[in-house]
């Protein structure tokens, strides 16, 4: 089975946002980056499917040169090779634009299965995977918690809201967006890290005429829906004050 995994490089969860002077994007030079968490689960699922069914796992990413860092990480965990759509402008692009860039590079590969995370931790559009399926002309299913593959079909467990699930089947090639927690992630071994250095990452130019579908006019800190009473002091003093207020003010204890 020839499996593609689309991964995105995003700022780390601990990173505190700092904005560019025009406040339309983040100061990337001040950010540290990591593999988008749901994409890491998609990668793990692809590696497990390869272990079961044989074949190849190709990691695909669209963005500036820095994204090769997470691509190498994916290769170290066991992916076979990489395809990088190399364009600085894709760093802040919307979901459809990223999907169009990926589709351009992925179409000729004719993958049996394409996996992506269900959304990114940076812009969080939750669109790239599904739009990519449309552009590749293949069926899709989203927010997947289990994958059974074989005989030219996949049967997948799709998460619905509020603790409900549903099994959905479709022919391959197909695209699935993977939910965090579908499996237990593996970490790269030293051997894997060494092997990754020799693996191929093919760079592809983005397609001509990509027009953004969304324009970010301004980024700002969210406004509070509530006035939070912040309690400070030593742990003991803060605890005593909080308990007092929960008893006397909020009457919640």
């Amino acid at each position: 089975m020839k499996i593609a995994v689309c991964i995105k490089q995003v700022p780390t969860r601990e990173w505190q946002p700092r904005l560019t002077d025009d406040r339309t994007w983040i100061r990337e030079a001040d950010a540290s980056f990591e593999m988008n968490e749901p994409d890491a689960y998609a990668l793990e699922e692809a590696l497990r499917l390869r272990e079961k069914h044989g074949g190849e796992v190709v990691v695909c990413s669209a963005g500036p040169a820095r994204v090769q860092q997470v691509m190498r990480e994916a290769l170290a965990r066991g992916a076979d090779r990489g395809v990088h759509v190399d364009a600085p402008a894709l760093a802040a692009a919307d979901g459809f634009t990223v999907a169009a860039a990926l589709a351009h590079a992925m179409r000729e590969e004719a993958f049996d299965l394409v996996l992506t995370g269900l959304q990114s931790d940076d812009q969080g559009h939750a669109q790239t995977g599904v739009a990519l399926a449309e552009l590749l002309g293949i069926p899709h299913s989203t927010i997947i918690m289990d994958v059974e593959a074989g005989d030219g079909r996949v049967r997948v467990k799709r998460e619905l809201e509020g603790g409900w699930f549903q099994w959905v089947s479709m022919p391959t090639p197909a695209l699935l967006t993977i939910q965090s927690g579908i499996n237990q992630l593996r970490y790269a071994t030293l051997k894997g890290i060494m092997a990754a250095k020799k693996k191929e990452i093919r760079s592809v130019a983005p397609p001509a005429g990509l027009e953004p579908g969304l324009k970010i006019l301004a980024l700002s800190l969210p406004s509070k829906s509530k006035q939070t009473a912040l309690i400070d002091g030593t742990p003991a003093a803060a605890a005593a004050e909080l308990v007092r207020r929960l008893r006397d003010e909020a009457r919640a204890l």
Binding site: R13, G95, G124, H140, G162, W164, L217, P222, K226, T228
Partner: protein, 319 residues
């Protein structure tokens, strides 16, 4: 004209559809609405009775069980018939499943997870969270054609919908040329929810900040002292540190206890939608900028491993 896409599940109107109507009314500022109801039935009648706009009911056997392929075909046809300026829907799991495909097929922009509308009419811009809710982006759809907007659950108020004189339901036909690629089975719940958190008076919930499974005991002692049930954000249950039926959020339970104490929970929107209706919310987190403080009534910024034991000791003191 603004087209609202209502969501019908098992013959019932998803309540979030009213929030989509509220969002459309705000974005339109008096502009007429049409509400398309794939699946029709009682859901269409309910919307027509509220007099919020022209109700277009699409009934077709292929709509009996949702598939993205059929849904895209139906909504695209209704858009072609009605030429809306804007299309609005709730940002449900179903919308997440098909809206990007619809927008990609029609080559129109999709603004997902919208929490606010700035201005109205053609100049309206949309607010949506980015970077895990740490920032809000004001975005403008680009290019030609109607933009599609999905609004975050709970961001627009269903009770803010302005109702009018009851209208009639108009039947609209859709042609479905091809069978969907997907075959769907009946929805099911994993083992019955053993714990009904929605009935809990008080809840102590833990998030990534708890760091290790053996540290959950710190929170459990607080819960015992408070007479509270234990709950968690998704990553904790994904790791198996607490069972799945303790999960609060969009993929878990929705709760509204008298008191909700969030320990080391940053406040991703998927968690907030499950607990922001709680009467009193306490957040204890080392990160003063964590989005959980946007919904908290009381907050302590600091190390939960110092504060929680102090809190437990305080509650255990004889009064």
């Amino acid at each position: 004209m603004i087209l609202v896409v209502a969501e019908v599940r098992g013959g019932t109107l998803n309540r979030a559809s009213w929030e989509a109507v509220a969002c459309a009314q705000q974005a339109g500022a008096g502009e007429p609405l049409a509400i398309v109801v794939p699946g029709g039935g009682d859901a269409a009648r309910l919307l027509a009775e509220a007099g919020v706009g022209d109700v277009l009911s699409v009934e077709h056997e292929a709509l009996a069980a949702y598939t993205p392929d059929v849904q895209v075909a139906v909504v695209a046809q209704v858009m072609a018939q009605t030429s809306p300026r804007l299309v609005v829907m709730a940002h449900t799991y179903q919308a997440r499943d098909y809206a990007p495909r619809l927008a990609a097929r029609l080559r129109v922009p999709l603004v997902a997870d919208v929490v606010g509308v700035k201005g109205s009419g053609a100049a309206a811009t949309f607010l949506r969270p980015m970077f895990q809710g740490k920032l809000v982006a004001e975005v403008a759809p680009q290019g030609v054609g109607p933009a599609v907007v999905s609004c975050q659950i709970g961001a627009f108020r269903a009770d803010a919908v302005v109702k009018g004189a009851p209208a009639a339901v108009r039947a609209v036909t859709a042609t479905i040329d091809a069978a969907p690629a997907q075959t769907v089975e009946a929805p099911f719940q994993e083992a019955r929810q053993a714990v009904d958190l929605s009935q809990a008076e008080r809840i102590v919930a833990v998030g990534r900040g708890i760091k290790a499974q053996d540290q959950i005991a710190v929170a459990e002692r607080l819960a015992a002292a408070m007479g509270a049930e234990m709950a968690a954000s998704r990553p904790i249950c994904d790791n198996g540190w607490l069972p799945m039926d303790r999960q609060v959020g969009s993929s878990g339970q929705t709760v509204s206890p008298k008191l909700y104490v969030a320990l080391g929970i940053s406040g991703a929107i998927q968690h907030l939608v499950g607990m922001k209706g709680s009467r009193t919310i306490v957040a204890i987190n080392k990160d003063a900028d964590a989005p959980i403080f946007e919904v908290a009534d009381y907050g302590i910024v600091g190390d939960l491993f110092e504060i929680v034991p102090a809190l437990t000791a305080e509650l255990e003191k004889p009064r």
